[in-house]
């Protein structure tokens, strides 16, 4: 199963290394990890998307992360109401014949073209992981020359509808 874990960490040298190290040491499978500044000075927010076999393992991951001295807060937000976004830059082959077709795909996805050259265009798309996957599938036949994705970044919505919220700060 897929879990989205949100971390608040001290902005210190080596902190990312500690986290990736922990994932490889404990044999956890990461899909993506995105890092950036947070609302607090000196602290960063990291969003990890991981695949685990069962609930027990995902609980173990949160606990192991919690043990890290540079990590201030760990929340498994998978089962919360969240906003989750990923950004992808995709360079697609295009010529005057296919260009219009590609534009018509872009529109419903609210993607945009941010660079055009003789034989390719660069598309920028943001959205949830699944939306980007769907778009990539559609655009593939035209020939993807390069792609860069940021991985998911996420946090809980302002209002939580359901109460199946999970906290792992044990007892």
């Amino acid at each position: 199963m897929k879990r989205i874990i949100s971390l608040t960490v001290m902005n210190r040298p080596g902190v990312l290394n500690r986290i990736t190290n922990l994932f490889s040491k404990r044999n956890y499978n990461i899909e993506s990890i995105s890092v950036g500044l947070s609302e607090h000075e000196g602290m960063s927010r990291i969003t990890c998307v991981i695949h685990v076999e069962n609930e027990k393992l995902s609980e173990q991951i949160t606990k192991q992360l919690n043990k890290q001295i540079d990590i201030i807060k760990v929340t498994d937000i998978t089962d919360q109401a969240i906003v989750a976004r990923e950004l992808a830059l995709i360079k697609v082959q295009s010529n005057p014949q296919t260009r219009n077709e590609i534009y018509s795909l872009i529109e419903p996805f609210r993607a945009s073209v941010i660079d055009v050259s003789k034989d390719s265009i660069v598309i920028q798309i943001t959205g949830e992981f699944e939306k980007i996957e769907a778009f990539v599938e559609l655009i593939k036949p035209y020939g993807i020359k390069e792609m860069a994705r940021t991985g998911t970044t996420a946090f809980p919505r302002g209002t939580q509808r359901h109460v199946n919220q999970k906290t792992f700060s044990i007892v």
């Binding site: 960490v9 173990q60 890290q68 001295i69 990590i71 201030i72 044990i170 007892v171």
Partner: protein, 570 residues
């Protein structure tokens, strides 16, 4: 005039980074340092020259950190290590991993090349932070002079609080030698580190109720009891509720072995009663043990009938290997103290105690006592009885380690030093040095195999130099005994590289270090020589020529459950 001079002194740069390091160590009340100099730590060593610490020079950095581990285990205080950059730093890696596995507080300083050349593959540069991140509780690199006092305070705090562990501080050479003035006091800044010590009341209630309903309860006590200095509370609680106690390898001594409620050591080479106690119990109270695989055997068969409660200061250990119904995140002492105040009626476990008693009588450890050859178990029994069970025993890794755990019956806490989690050969001899330094008056026995001893022989020099009265007992079976045993059991006795036909004379080797040595080939000699040397306050090396074919029993084969022991006395 004087005042003015003092003022200018304070304002000008008169202190080096190394000075700040020394005064921070003094503040932490460090008494002993295990260190080995080299280029990158020369500025530090120049200050150590005038300091009051007892500085021990091991003959290999690995020996230094194992000695620090022995010191930490017995004294309860962090063991302090210094190594130079590059090879000095990589030589302590095994010890850091060992201390991490066995939760021992260590503060290790490594020299580092100057900040201006870090990352350039400079002479004796190693990325020791990168190397040690997975095997330390935390590590630092000093970047600014003014951070030194705070970082060292944090390092000692992290190493010794919560679940203890090793902390490394990487110290670039230029920072150790550049000048500064007395920096302003900085508070510790560890918002992400708040170990839970006090137990949750509701969980304590749950456990107390479960205990009172139990018919077949047992306590499994691990080294968490020793780290928390909770053996007194453990004894009180076990007696109050009449619950039998089982120990893990590292927990030995937490509960007196001569107590009627003590069942013994559990695990791969544990005794019948302890392993069956775990297999048959209906309530398993784990206090400060981590359900290591050498203890549990195959998890599918582990404590199949039990409701599991687990007290641990590290929440990540709870539920990691064994599903746990009652999790209690707390220090063992705080949890036991809380349990002692509960007023539920004790469990009705008379039949259970009777059953355990029967097992104890029927299936004790056993060996051929009539054998002509000297049996290792027999030697261990002698060491035990001739020291009245009061010695500090530091072991290496292998068969002799298991026999020590089985036959040396500890009645007190903090008499047992062994490498459990990592199983590091070469640990025993240097660890005994640290233990002796922690308790200069104690009788310390280093129990080692002939192979593991040769991984640390060079440390005899430290014993000689300081005239440490350590009794080095080599269980000489001319083989890598434990490996030989596994090959006998699981590889059709194809003894691939597990026999050592050619050995040095250990007695002559001892003599080279001015240490008395004896070769002992039979029980009579053993009695005679032990009576003569055990109470002398000088080092001695005893080369016991023990039966080379002897195996450790009982044994649980890998993949088997605890109830599937072989070699039990019938």
């Amino acid at each position: 005039m004087v005042r003015e001079a003092a003022l200018t002194e304070m304002k000008t740069d008169t202190l080096t980074g190394a000075d700040l390091l020394i005064s921070a160590l003094e503040k932490e009340k460090v008494e002993v340092i295990f260190g080995y100099p080299g280029g990158a730590v020369l500025p530090i060593y120049d200050k150590i020259y005038d300091s009051k610490f007892l500085h021990i020079l091991p003959r290999h950095e690995q020996g230094g950190i194992h000695a620090a581990e022995g010191y930490a285990r017995i004294s309860g205080k962090p063991g302090v290590v210094i190594a130079t950059s590059g090879p000095g730093a990589t030589n302590i890696v095994t010890g850091l991993a060992d201390a991490m596995m066995d939760s021992l507080p260590i503060v290790a300083f490594t020299g580092q090349v100057a900040t201006s050349v870090i990352g350039s593959d400079a002479f004796q540069e190693a990325d020791i932070l990168g190397i040690t991140t997975p095997i330390t509780k935390y590590n630092f690199q000093i970047r600014k002079l003014e951070d030194i006092p705070r970082v060292i305070k944090e390092a000692f705090y992290i190493a010794s609080s919560g679940r203890p562990g090793p902390v490394l501080i990487d110290f670039p050479k230029d920072i150790a030698s550049s000048l500064t003035k007395q920096p302003e006091e900085q508070e510790m800044n560890l918002p992400g580190y708040q170990p839970t010590v006090k137990p949750n009341f509701l969980q304590i209630r749950k456990l107390a109720e479960a205990v009172s309903r139990a018919r077949k309860p047992v306590i499994l006590a691990g080294a968490g009891v020793l780290h928390a200095k909770a053996s007194h509370e453990l004894l009180q609680y076990a007696e109050q509720q009449q619950i039998p106690v089982i120990h893990t390898l590292l927990g030995l001594g937490g509960f007196p072995a001569n107590h009627p409620l003590f069942l013994g050591l559990a695990g791969m080479h544990g005794c019948y009663t302890a392993n069956m106690g775990l297999s048959e119990c209906d309530l398993l109270i784990n206090i400060g043990a981590r359900f290591d695989d050498r203890l549990t055997g195959n998890l599918d068969h582990f404590a199949p009938k039990a409701m599991v409660a687990h007290v641990d200061i590290d929440p990540a250990e709870i539920g990691k290997n064994v599903p746990t119904l009652i999790p209690i995140v707390a220090d063992a002492k705080a949890a036991l103290t809380a349990l002692l105040t509960q007023t539920d009626s004790p469990p009705d476990q008379k039949d259970w105690l009777k059953q355990l008693q029967e097992w104890q009588e029927k299936h004790p450890y056993h060996y051929d006592e009539k054998s002509e050859t000297l049996k290792p178990q027999q030697v261990m029994e002698m060491l035990f009885s001739k020291t009245k069970g009061e010695a500090i025993v530091a072991t290496d890794v292998g068969q002799h380690q298991m026999w020590a755990a089985q036959y040396y019956r500890f009645n007190q806490a903090d008499r047992w030093v062994t490498s459990g989690g990592l199983g590091t050969m070469g640990f025993g001899l240097p660890a005994s040095i640290g233990a002796q330094l922690a308790e200069p008056g104690a009788c310390v026995i280093a129990v080692v195999g002939d192979a593991g001893f040769q991984m640390s022989t060079q440390e005899l020099a430290v014993i000689q130099e300081l005239n440490l009265p350590i009794k080095i007992a080599i269980f000489n079976n001319q083989s890598l005994g434990m490996v030989r045993q596994w090959q006998e059991f699981f590889y059709e006795s194809r003894f691939s590289h597990s026999k050592i036909p050619v050995q040095p004379s250990f007695v002559k080797l001892a003599e080279a270090y001015d240490i008395k040595g004896y070769t002992i080939t039979n029980a009579e000699e053993a009695h005679e020589i032990l009576d003569e040397v055990l109470h002398n306050r000088e080092p001695v090396l005893l080369d016991f020529r023990v039966d080379a074919e002897e195996n450790v029993y009982p044994m649980i084969a890998p993949g088997k459950g605890l109830h599937e022991m072989v070699g039990v006395k019938e």
